[in-house]
Structure formats: C-alpha cells, structure tokens
Symmetry: C2
Subunit: 293 residues, 2 copies
C-alpha cells in the first residue's frame, strides 16, 4: 500500500485526461474530467483534475486514501504563463507531489522519453519545441495574431484575406475562392461581420477545406498550403539546427501538412515513443527524483 | 435670405469638421465639433455635427434660423455600413437636406471634382476607391484582420511577427528588431501580453519607426516596407486597370510610402483638386440637383 503511484495529466480546454501507472510502469487505469485549461478558475481546474484522477483510481481498484501515494505530473496549455501556474499552485491538493509544465514539454518528454529531439504541434495553433543536451527551446507558438505560422487559424485567415483580393479583382478566382465567397453570399460586408466575431478556431475550421482544394491542385489552395508549409519548415529547421536529431509531429493538421514540408525536414520525422500522458508521468518521476537527489 | 447654403461635413472618430459655402461657392465659415464616427450614438453624432455647423454659421455671421437653408453633405468612416446610416437618418435634423456617403467617396469627389480618378488612403488602415464613368469601386479597406494591405496597422503587426522570428533564431536580428525587442525587455511573454490588448492604432504607431529604419537601409525595415508598398501597389493597379486615369494619395503614411511604390503607379499620382470637405459640399449639391431634376 505504500508503493509509489504516478499520475500523468493532460490539461486541455475542453477536457482533462489522466493515466495512472505504478512504479514499475504498469498501467493501472485512465480517466477523464472537465475543462482544465489552467487559465480557468483554479477551483474548476482542480475539480477536473481530481475527477479524472478518481476515475483512474476506480479503474485501478484503488481508493480515495490512495491519493496521498500519487506523484502527479501535468502538461497544460498556458503553463508557460507564470501567473496562471502560481494561481493553480496556490490551492492545496491531495497528492504526494505535483509537477506542471507546458503541454509541449510533456508531449516532447513522451515522444523522446526525455532524450534529444523536437516536436512540431499543428492544429488550430502551431508550436515548435525541442530538448537538446538538457536545454529546452520554444520556437513559435505565440498566438495566431503574430505567430503560429502554418497553423489552422493562420491558414483560414490567409484564405479569407486572399478571397478579398479575388472579390476586389486583384487576384484571379479559383474553385476554392468561389466556394468560400459564395458561403458569404459574395458580400464582403457579411464576411467582415463574420471576421469581427471570429476566434482562432473559427478560422481554423477552413484549414481542411484549403487542404482538400490544394490536393486537387486549386492554385489558391496550393499557394496557401505552400506558404503554411514554409512557415512550419522554418520552425522545424530552427529546432533541427539547435541540435535536435529527429522530429515528431502532433495535432490535427500534422498528417495532411506533412507531405508539403521540405524534404530535408520530412526525412527527420519519426514516430513518438509514447504520448503526452506518459510524458506527464515522466515529468512526475523526474520531479520526484530531483527532490530525492 | 432664401439663398441656398451648402455645408460639407467630415465625420471622424475624434472630431467633426464642417465648411459652409454659398451657392456661388464662396467660403463663408468653418467649424469643428466632437466625435462623429457614425457607429457612435446617433444623438452624440448629431450633436457634434450641429456644434461644427453652428461654429461655421457664426463665423459667417449667420444664425440659427439659417439652418433651414442649408443643404448638407457628410463623408463618414463607417458609412458603408447600412445599419449605422439608417440609425443616423432615423433622427430628425434641421437642414433643408442631408446626404451621407463614405469618407472615401467624399475624398474622391473633392480630389477629382466628381470626375474619373482614384484615391488611396493610407493611415492606420488602408483603402482604395475610384470612380470611373459614373461607377464607383472599393478596393481593399476591409479592416486589418484580413485586409488593409500596406496600412500602418499591418506594418506594425508584421514588424512584431518578424521580431518573434528573430527572437526564436529563425531570422537574423537587425537594429530595428533589436530596438523593438528591447522595448519588450526581450521577453516574448511581455510582447504577447501587449498584443492581446493591442488595437489597430497601437500597431500603427510602429509604422513611422519601420519607415525610419527602412530609410537607413535596415534589412528588416526594408523588407516590411517593400511588402507594404507591394500591397498598396496592387490596390492602386486594380483601380488604374478599372480605368482611373490618375491617383491621389491621402492619410498620414501616404507621403513616406509614396517613394516605395512601383514607378508605374507613382507616375499616375496627382495632387487633389480639393479636399474631402469640398467633396462633401459636392455631395450635397449633387444630391440636391438629383432631387430637383
């Protein structure tokens, strides 16, 4: 009963996932909870974490009293923001220890088991992250306004920007621009109203359409995807230049964008050794051994 | 006392300007009032218009009772938005007639006295507008999110975007990027916090800095200004291709950006015949003669 337990937590905006392993690495159970983006109310985040944790404990046939044996590690979007982490850590928790880092860090820990390597996450946003010789590096990932090159949000915004050119007569129309402009009734006032309310995820919903048309050699789609791939290639190249020997790609747009990347980048892509939940478990183990040494 | 009076109004976000002329075109007076962006409360906008109008009347030695002799024309940012115009026109006014159109339209009316020609406005935003053979065309000007190529807001945002590349090691630093990154303590978290609160005018405040460094051959500054000029060149080219024989430039960035424009565009640039206030007077006269014919 006094054996160590390790809990890996993935804290996302819509749900929280948790995985429980024993000290030997055996899988004991998994569970999910509610929203756990750490920019949210800390009480809500802890409630989501504990819901996911208790579900994993129950699956393992363990109990509330076993909470105190758990060393937890959490990867969370927004954990680069010190103030949000401080707010979360100001609450008490029932674990033996609790370590937190960014979701990029735990994805990287899982992918390379803590060894040298880089990851490239491409979904609504984009972010590069790598660890080399014990030093970690972020490349990009500062939000779609001024960063997130090659992300779904940037692809979608670029699509609408170029559709304005087509509507103005500044660029030739293509089947892709025809389809998008028709969606807005060929009325830029309607389009601009939509833009005024659009969030990054709204722009990002156009990325699959752009990729689909690009795959059919639509000139506008190909131009946008080529530009996105160049942006991602620049992030990857920087990480490889920093000394990362290989690259893992994650996120909903990783697979469709991969064939568009520059061949020297494509050649470095490998499959991850493990996922971000196991990366979070490694975070917990590393934090514990750090405290013990 | 029954002679016609014509009032030209320029409705801006910070102030309202008005100019009064008689039927022969003689200048009688000018005045200013408060904020009159027509997206604001209609009562506030009318109050600003009438303040500016009464100041012009006073300068002309005229009186409250002369309001009924005035045929007014107003150019206003946001007048392309039908709902805002409808809100404004739902209020009663003391004028004999009142016509309203966009600030681009009155700037064009003034610049070419209603004849064929195009204008390019470059300040915080950018917009192209032209009238050819009685047909008017907007090119660009749909806001900095997906349009406003070459504007101050887009130049400033592009500066910060490329400064992130420099900070990441994805692009070489230059004196311009050094200066900007130092302003944010070389801390991208500080920069991203700033971006989260930034309005287009905040980005636009970086445009003079970019132009200054570009003038000193800073590679980053030159790259951004070259891209901005290409965007403006594409707007101008479209207007010229639609048949506009000449181009007038307006806005705080028109003069510094002009030498960067493609030579075939530069060659078409002329001085405006008159300003937007006289364009608004022409709007009022045209509306009146349209009603009388």
């Amino acid at each position: 009963m006094t054996d160590l337990l390790f809990l890996g937590i993935d804290g996302g905006g819509t749900k929280c996932r948790a995985r429980l392993r024993d000290a030997q690495g055996n899988l004991l159970g998994e569970g999910t909870g509610g929203p756990s983006n750490i920019r949210l109310d800390p009480d809500l985040v802890w409630s989501s974490i504990l819901t996911a944790c208790r579900a994993a404990l129950a699956q393992a046939g363990l109990h509330e009293r076993d909470l105190g044996r758990i060393h937890a590690g959490m990867g969370a979007a927004g954990a680069g923001q010190t103030s949000a982490v401080d707010r979360l850590l100001a609450r008490s928790h029932p674990f033996a220890s609790f370590a937190i880092d960014t979701d990029a860090h735990t994805a990287w820990l899982g992918a390379f088991n803590g060894g040298d390597g880089a990851i490239l996450i491409v979904g609504t946003g984009s972010c590069g992250y790598g660890g080399v010789s014990g030093r970690c590096h972020y490349v990009g990932g500062w939000g779609y306004e001024i960063s997130d090159d090659g992300s779904g949000a940037v692809i979608g915004r670029e699509l609408l920007r170029r559709c304005v050119w087509v509507h103005d007569g500044r660029a030739p129309g293509t089947p892709l621009s025809d389809a998008v402009l028709a969606e807005f009734g060929n009325d830029l006032e309607v389009l601009v109203d939509w833009v005024g309310k659009a969030r990054p995820s709204d722009y990002g919903r156009y990325a699959p359409l752009v990729l689909e048309y690009a795959g059919r050699r639509d000139p506008l789609g190909m131009a946008i995807v080529t530009e996105a791939a160049a942006g991602l290639g620049s992030i990857a190249t920087r990480l490889l230049d920093l000394g990362a020997p290989a690259l893992c790609m994650f996120g909903g747009l990783a697979e469709p964008l991969r064939p568009w990347l520059p061949p020297p980048v494509q050649r470095t892509i490998t499959s991850p050794m493990a996922d971000a939940l196991d990366g979070a478990i490694l975070l917990a183990r590393t934090a514990l051994s750090g405290r013990q040494s």
